[in-house]
């Protein structure tokens, strides 16, 4: 994480953002919201409401048609390849389908993010072990395919936090988890936000039990309401 990203108070800022795909009605139409440091925000909305589009705009995968998307003061869609990489390393991303590589163990999967940040093998392994401990994973040598869905989710979160990001994005984290596992995961995300990390979680419905400190953002008809 760079000093610039770490110092920003407002980590996500959407200002009248519009995005349409083809001739279909816009997914986002004047969407505005902010997420500050230390907040746990839950973005809910129906299927196809645009939750994943919001996350993909934050990470620079897609650009808005109109309006402004800023992450720690930078507009991801306007960044060069190297600057976008630096921004993504300052953001922890847990996609819905996790994207754990099947050809390497959990520890090696988590290390990838640290290696992309330029750490040596030993330093990356050390940092990955700390991240895995933080999410409560003890067996690092297993292959992702051998893990339960909840454990895979935790491995993906460990990979997302290994570079100590200022912002954590989590897409549908409880979709495939039973109630106790979902509760554990939400408590973990709340811990991160208490430690100063901004957490934005996209979810189809409001996950229960949602921590009382969580901000509730609702995405419907292209706009975000609180």
């Amino acid at each position: 994480m760079t000093d610039k990203h770490a110092a920003a108070a407002t980590l996500i800022e959407f200002d009248r953002v519009r995005k349409a795909f083809g001739a279909a009605p816009p997914v986002l139409d004047g969407a505005s919201f902010k997420v500050e440091r230390g907040q746990l925000a839950v973005l809910t909305g129906a299927n196809g409401a645009g939750k994943t589009t919001v996350l993909r705009m934050i990470t620079g995968w897609i650009a808005p048609d109109d309006g402004r998307v800023a992450v720690a003061g930078e507009e991801p869609a306007r960044l060069s390849d190297a600057a976008l990489g630096a921004l993504r390393r300052a953001i922890g991303i847990v996609p819905q389908d996790l994207h754990l590589l099947a050809d390497r163990c959990v520890l090696e999967n988590v290390m990838l993010a640290a290696l992309a940040d330029g750490l040596s093998l030993r330093a990356a392994a050390e940092r990955a072990r700390l991240a895995l401990q933080r999410v409560g994973l003890a067996d690092w040598t297993q292959m992702p395919a051998d893990l339960a869905a909840g454990t895979q989710q935790r491995a993906a979160i460990a990979r997302a936090i290994v570079n100590r990001p200022a912002l954590l994005l989590v897409d549908e984290p409880t979709a495939y988890l039973d109630a106790p596992a979902a509760g554990d995961l939400l408590r973990l995300l709340e811990e991160f936000s208490r430690a100063g990390m901004a957490v934005l979680m996209a979810s189809h419905g409001e996950p229960a039990p949602l921590p009382s400190s969580a901000r509730r953002l609702r995405l419907a008809e292209g706009r975000v309401t609180e």
């Binding site: 190297a82 990489g85 630096a86 993504r88 993010a113 290696l115 040596s120 093998l121």
Partner: protein, 299 residues
Amino acid sequence: MRALAVRAHGLREMGRLIRRRPGSFLLAVLLAAAAFTVPLVSASFARSAAPLVRQLPLGPEINVFLAGSASSTEIRQLQSQLTARPGVVQIDWISRDTALKTLAQRTGNSGLAELKANPLPDVLVVTLSPEAAPAEVESAVAELRRMPQVDSVAADVGWHRQLRALLSAAAATGALVGGLVAALLVLTVLASVQLQLNLSAEYVRVMRLVGADRRFIARPFAYSGALTLALGMLVATGLTWASLAAAAPKVVELARTYGATFDLQPLPSQWLAALVAGAAMVGGLIASLGTRWGLRQVR
């Protein structure tokens, strides 16, 4: 430190790429080796033949037969006049006495002693630059014929024309083979990179997700391309050595029948080391460009 770490990561990932499809990697190395062997064998032959070729008179020669009345002073004047002419690289004066002595030696002096006077003329052998066009040679011959004290002029323009055509065809063939070899090498590396990229689509996606830029992602593929051509060159060196060892006795024997000495040698080891390093650099560059091209639409 960071620079070392990212390179070390690139090497480890290159190992994974190769282990994922070792057969494809080996095939690419063998294709590169086959492509490198052709120019390596040709270069080894050319280098071994260079001392022989240097002895051959490649520039066209014009024999200027002088009139019997030409004095030594006049001949020297003519010689310096011709030396100043553009395109002339050498002039040898074969005096009539030298010519007679040579003739006597060659014929065993049969009947020459009976001669009352030396019937042979003084001759100036004018050697033109090997680059001289046949038309230039013909023009020089015509000009020499008009000069004072020149009795007659002889030049084998036809032979020169044939030699030029032969060299020109050899150069064109060399360029064609070189171009084909280069194209084969580029295609081999690009195809290998494309295959590895296709097999690594999920790796690329994850690396973009965790913030790796294209340069970082391309590194293992570039290293793989470098290794492909470096190993290809090493294998080609071995193949060249084996080919030369097999061909040497027959080539040496052939040269001996023409009274020449031909020492068929592989290229020096320093050259080969430089070629392996160069192949690695070229392979890395091609693979790096190919990978970045393949990743151009990955945001």
